[in-house]
Every structure is written in C-alpha cells, then in structure tokens.
C-alpha cells in the first residue's frame, strides 16, 4: 500500500452538522469521527495510512479524476474516467429539516456513497477497513445477513449495507463489481448509540435522501443575501462554515481535523475540533453580513451558554456543548500526516490566557444586537462582566491570539481587543442598550489602552505597529487595528504599517505570514491574513482595484473545490494545517463583504462573477 498521504488540498469534506468526513481525491474516506466532531475516529488514514483505517471506492486501473460539489450543496461528486468508462462517485451525509426527519425513520448518523456508471463499463474496487479509536481498535465485523454487516462496539453499533457483495478479509471488508452504463451501486454506513438502531435500506431511499440533502443545502445557500463579487466562492465558504457548525448547540468548530501539520514533518500539529471564542466576532459579522440571522442567533446563544460557567473569566476554547475540552494527549501509535508527529487530541491552549477573547465576545454581541435591538438581562450581565474583567486585567501579559506556548507577552492585538471591549460597551451604554456599567471607569481604561497602543505599539524607527508593546517584530494582525476601527485604514500610520507588513511578511500576492517568527522559520503563510489584507484595502487602506487584486490573488490558493486550510506553502502552494479551516473561510466572507460595501460606496458594484 502506498504510504504517501494525499496532499491536504486533495481532500474534500462532507458532513451533517454534527460530524464531518474527509474524502480524498481518489475516493477514499480517510477521516471520520462519530458521533461528533471531537469523538474518536472511525477512519484516520489521514494521520496514518497503515493503521488509521479508511473506506475506499474507486475503479480498477488508472483514472483521470475530477470532482465538484453539486452547485450550492455539500454533496460531493468525484468523476473517474478510465480506459473502459466513466463513473461518478457521490458522497454525502444525509441532511434535511428536523420536521422532515420526524416524518420518517432517520439514522442517528449516516454516510452514503453511490456509484453510477456514466459511460462504458467500470470494474469497481471497494475496501472498507474501519479502525476505531484512532486506529487502536480493529473491530470485529459480523455478517448480519440481509441486515448488512455490523460492528457492535459496546455503546454503539455501526451498520454497513451495500449493493455489492462483500467478503471479509483480514483487514475488514472488500468487494468488487463490474457495472455497465446506467447501473448504480449504493453503500451506506450508519451509526447508532441507542437501540433499536435504524438500519437504512438502499435502493430508492438513497435517491430520496440525496434529493432531500440537495434541497436542504440549496435552500440554506439561497438564504444568503449576497450580491457582491465572487458569489460562488463566498457561498462555498459559507457552506464550509455550515459544515463546521454543530447543529444541536450552534457552536462552530475551528476545523474538523486534528494534527494536520502547519509544516509537513513538523511538530506544530494541533487539535482544532473545538470552538474558539477568538473567532466569535468574525463569525457573527460573516453570518449577519450574509443574512444568516438564525445561524448567528444560534451561535450567540451558544456563546452565552458556553461562557456561563466560567464567567467573568472566559476560556480560550470550548467543546460543542460549552464544556472544557479534554486534556491534551499525544497518540504515539499514529505515524502522523506524512510523518508529522506528534498527533494530538485535546488542546492545551484551553488553559492559556488570551485577553483578546473578551473583545471578540463583546464585538460579536454588538454585531448581534445592532444599534436598536434591546439586550436581555443575561446578555447585559455578561457584557458588564467582560467590561469589569478587562478593566482589571488589560495591562497583563497574555499568550496572544497565535497561542504561542512560551512566556506571556504584552501583545498589541490583545490590547486592541481590550480597547474594543470597552469601546463597544461604552457605545452600547451611550445608545441606552446597556445599563449598570461603571462608565467612568470604563472610559478611563479605554483612554489608557488607546494611549498605550499609540505610544508603545507604534515603532517610530520601523514606522509600523508591532506585534508587542515596545517590540521590533511585525505581525499581520496589526491590520486589525483598522478592521476593528481603532485606526482609519487610510491613516498614515496604517498605510506605513501595511507597507512594512507587505514587504516583510508577504511572500507572494495574496499571501501573508502571520508574523516574523513564521517568516523566519519558513512556515506556511497564514491564509486568513491574505484576506485581512484584502479587507484592509477595501476599507480604505488602498484603492478598490488593489483590494480586488489581493482578494482574487488570495482566493487563488483555495483547492479545486474552493476550500482552504489554515496555511499555504508559499513555494508549492500546498495547503497546510487543519482542513478545512473555518477562520480562513470567515476571512473570505468578511473580506468579500467589505469589498461589496466599497463597491457600493463607489457605485461600482459588479454583481456576481
């Protein structure tokens, strides 16, 4: 077996709003965690081709492969063209409205794969090799006759059903079939934690579920009120973000994978299957900006619920139900993606101090309520607690938004977000939406933070804002000073800062390293930062054409399906880090919204392209 893993960008993602699977370009499901994003894996070949487990379906022999999502859906089609014919593999996890689910039996989780021969004839090869608990358990698969094949593993049962006859081998199940043009073979893997499990039949029901899923995704995509540039890419980002949202709670996780490396062969491999408060402000702005009010509301409700137990202190990250993520552990038995060790589950960053989270939460709440809506008592209490906490702690060093695991520092971005906390609270107070705050105290701290940033984060010698107070190093997140309204994007200081960042942190148009540590270590460029630059330019930091150019250049680093990882290798353009990454897709949406607003202002809205 070839032990070289596919490139990260060669994966696609499918999901059901509770869990997600990564499907390789060659038709192999190499990552699936059930029942939720942060559960242990069923397939983890992504992290170890030999022991991780996979489920591949592909034609025998060489094939030319193309793939796409059905328009405005998360239903994946992979087309294999071989010497003898052409087959289309459709992968999806069934989704539909809760109302429709109540009208029929619906498995707790299901992944459906369907092969249709479009032309000629195809010899199919299927290899179903699940390895539970991150490859540690080789499950016993029992033949349940007409009910399919079962894996009974204590508290849950997996059922695999197939139109192709399987034989059991030492690794799992395998099957072969020769299909002619027009013939279809379907496969279903389902999961249940309670009995009686729903064992879905194949045949017409697969077509029915496929149609329901297509309709549901398209209906959701149609709700977007976006008529700006690059409509398809923006909606793809929204759909990717929707795949990262956990429907029962409204949480949005950072990415559905763990330990995809930020440098291939490196050790910066983290578990991103949790929800970061850091993403809150960008998330709410993106969802509201696109018109997804219900999703934004669900996310804010999750935010209120998740933070309830730890307030006034906020954790950096929470699990989908607002609990603390598990302790970070190293899975030493896994080889890691292309040998990138260690493989980690859980995330130690949960114990870091990141003062910027307060600003993110307050900014998210401010977006949510707008300028007229009343704040309920609980929201007001949370906001007051955030303000009081920031007044007491803003001058402390912290770990910063990049979560470096070294000494705490006085990061400029953390100061900025403390300023944002107080700035937004004072605005809400002035508009009469928030009462009971110590306005004088807030205002005093607000002034002190502003003064400190202006005096100590600005480096006269460099003519730039720097990563930390009295520092010499640059950080792309200095562009956020304009995005959060601390400085005008067109101000002399921001213009100079942008010039320095582009010169020292920009390896290529559309790409920026996050900071000089990354640039010096030849790490990947941080995909989000390219979109921050486009956003900055669109907000007045440059001309409209400059903004459009940077946005287009940054978009070009998406994979063939429009998906982004966390980072981009500036030399090979390969995706790096966990995939797909919500933060990057938020960047796409927010930059597009700023670009649209700029085009509107200048009367140059081009419409969808």
């Amino acid at each position: 077996m070839n032990t070289d893993p596919p490139k990260i960008q060669d994966y696609a993602v499918i999901g059901d709003g509770r869990s997600a699977a990564l499907v390789s370009r060659h038709g192999s499901i190499d990552w699936l965690c059930w029942p939720r994003f942060d559960s242990s894996s069923v397939f983890a070949a992504l992290l170890d081709q030999k022991v991780g487990g996979h489920w591949s379906i592909h034609p025998a022999g060489d094939a030319q492969i193309t793939r796409r999502y059905l328009h405005d859906t998360n239903v994946l089609e992979t087309e294999f063209s071989t010497a003898s014919g052409k087959i289309v593999l459709t992968d999806f996890m069934p989704v539909t409205s809760e109302e429709k689910k109540k009208e029929q039996l619906w498995p707790e989780h299901e992944l459906i794969r369907q092969v249709r021969v479009a032309q000629g004839e195809a010899h199919l090869m299927i290899d179903f090799s699940p390895r539970l608990d991150y490859g540690r358990i080789v499950p016993q698969i029992k033949n349940a006759g007409k009910l399919g094949w079962r894996i009974d593993i204590g508290t849950c049962v997996f059922t695999i059903r197939s139109d192709v006859e399987f034989v059991q081998d030492g690794h799992g199940l395998s099957g072969t079939a020769t299909l002619k043009a027009g013939e279809v073979a379907s496969f279903s893997l389902s999961y249940s934690a309670e009995a009686p499990a729903v064992i879905p039949p194949l045949g017409d029901l697969v077509a029915h579920k496929l149609q329901l899923s297509i309709d549901w995704w398209r209906n959701w995509a149609d709700q977007a009120k976006y008529e700006g540039p690059h409509r398809d890419e923006v909606i793809r980002s929204a759909l990717a973000l929707k795949l990262l949202s956990y429907a029962p709670s409204g949480a949005i996780i950072a990415a559905p994978t763990t330990s995809l490396p930020e440098t291939v062969g490196g050790d910066r491999n983290w578990d991103y299957r949790f929800a970061w408060l850091r993403d809150a402000a960008f998330t709410v702005r993106a969802l509201f900006g696109l018109g997804y009010k219900d999703d934004a509301e669900a996310f804010v409700n999750w935010l209120l619920h998740a933070t309830r137990l730890t307030r006034p202190q906020l954790r950096v990250l929470y699990d989908v139900f607002g609990e603390s993520p598990p302790d970070e552990r190293v899975l030493g038995h896994l080889h890691g993606y292309a040998g990138s060790q260690p493989v980690r589950v859980g995330n130690e960053a949960r114990d870091q101090l990141q003062l910027d989270t307060y600003g993110e939460v307050v900014e998210a709440a401010t977006h949510f309520v707008g300028t007229e809506q009343r704040l309920d008592r609980e929201m007001q209490q949370m906001l007051r607690q955030c303000g009081d906490y920031v007044c007491a702690h803003w001058s402390e060093p912290d770990n910063g938004m990049w979560e470096y695991r070294d000494a705490r520092r006085h990061y400029t971005h953390s100061r900025l977000m403390c300023w944002v906390t107080l700035d937004r609270l004072l605005q809400l107070h002035r508009r009469g939406q928030l009462s009971g705050i110590a306005a004088d105290k807030f205002e005093k701290a607000w002034r002190e933070i502003r003064q400190e940033i202006e005096e100590r984060a600005w480096n006269e010698h460099l003519q730039s804002y720097t990563q930390e107070l009295d520092g010499e190093a640059l950080d792309s997140n200095a562009l956020l000073l304009a995005l959060h309204g601390f400085e005008d994007a067109a101000s002399a200081r921001m213009q100079e800062t942008h010039r320095r960042i582009r010169a020292r942190l920009g390896p290529a148009p559309g790409l920026l390293y996050r900071d000089e540590r990354s640039a010096e270590k030849n790490e990947g460029a941080f995909a989000l930062c390219g979109f921050w630059e486009a956003d900055f330019l669109a907000r007045g930091g440059g001309s409209l054409d400059e903004a459009r150019g940077v946005f287009k250049a940054a978009l070009a680093f998406a994979n063939d399906l429009g998906l982004f990882a966390e980072e981009i290798d500036p030399i090979t353009a390969d995706a790096l880090g966990n995939f797909p990454q919500g933060f990057t897709h938020l960047g796409v949406i927010n930059a597009a919204l700023s670009l649209r607003d700029r085009e509107k202002r200048e009367g140059k809205l081009e419409g969808p392209s």
Binding site: E103, K146, L147, T155, S192, A195, P196, V198, I199
Partner: protein
C-alpha cells in the same frame, strides 16, 4: 386486593425499573432504549416516540404488576424474595419470548430474513435482545428483579 397499595407500588417499581434500564443504557450496559422501542410502534418521530414509549411503559408496568399482585394474593404472602422470583421469570419471558416476537408485532422493526424496507428499518432485538448489546440480558434481568422485589417487599395484602 389492596388497590391503593398496588397503585402506589406499581408506580414506584415501574419508575425504578425504567430508571435502571435507562441507567444501564447510560453506563453502556445496553443500547436498548425501551421507550423508543415501544414508542416507534406509533410514530417514526424519535422525540415523540420516546414520550409515547414512557407512557406505554408505565401502562405496561401497571398491567404486569397486576399479575404479581394476583400471585401474592393467591399464596397469601408478599415478600421481596417472592417478588424477585416472579421478576426473574418475567425477565426470562421478556428476553426469550417477548423481544424475539417483536418483529412480528412492531410495524417498524425490520425482518432478519428480508432485510430493512422503507417502512421497517429498525434493528430487530434478536434472541435475548443480544443485538442491542451483549449485556442487554443482564440489565433486563436486574431491572425486573428489582421491580419484583419492590412490589413483593412493599405491597401489603388485605
């Protein structure tokens, strides 16, 4: 028959029986969710099925407890060990006869010989409910033994 004593202790014992079965699902002894199993006779809606199933389970508890009470009255004695014995018999009956017969009675349970259909998609329990987890019989026996022990121990013969 002591009506008020039967009413009180049949409710109490059914509450405990239901809780033990739910608890054994919670701790991974079995996947069997009895309210869901019963409720899906009437609806495919997962949430509504569980609600209907709980009501149905309580009605079952009351009806079955009548058999226990009849036995206590017949021998003129109600003790915890006698109740336990009846509970044991009932548990074996449920496991060996009741659950395997379900596919014939339940409109949504699939048939092992023909496989699932659009209407019948629910996993059949199999002999002794083993399809719902290998320790399902233990939880069923423990729950029914406790059910019988409570009835036998607290029901007062009039």
């Amino acid at each position: 028959m002591n009506f008020s004593s039967w009413l009180l202790w049949s409710v109490v014992s059914t509450v405990v029986l239901t809780s033990v079965l739910a608890g054994s699902q919670g701790i991974g002894m079995t996947r069997m969710n009895v309210p869901y199993l019963l409720g899906t006779i009437f609806t495919p809606n997962r949430d509504r099925a569980k609600f209907i199933g709980i009501i149905l389970h309580f009605v079952n508890g009351a009806l079955f407890s009548l058999i226990y009470v009849a036995a206590f009255q017949a021998v003129g004695k109600a003790t915890w060990w006698f109740g336990t014995l009846i509970g044991l018999v009932q548990a074996f009956f449920v496991l060996a006869v009741g659950l395997p017969a379900l596919p014939a009675l339940h409109p949504r349970i699939a048939n092992e010989q023909y496989g699932p259909t659009v209407v019948r998609q629910l996993e059949p329990p199999g002999f002794f409910g083993l399809h719902y987890g290998i320790r399902t019989p233990i939880s069923v026996i423990v729950a029914h033994v406790i059910f019988g022990a409570i009835l036998g121990g607290f029901y007062s013969i009039r």
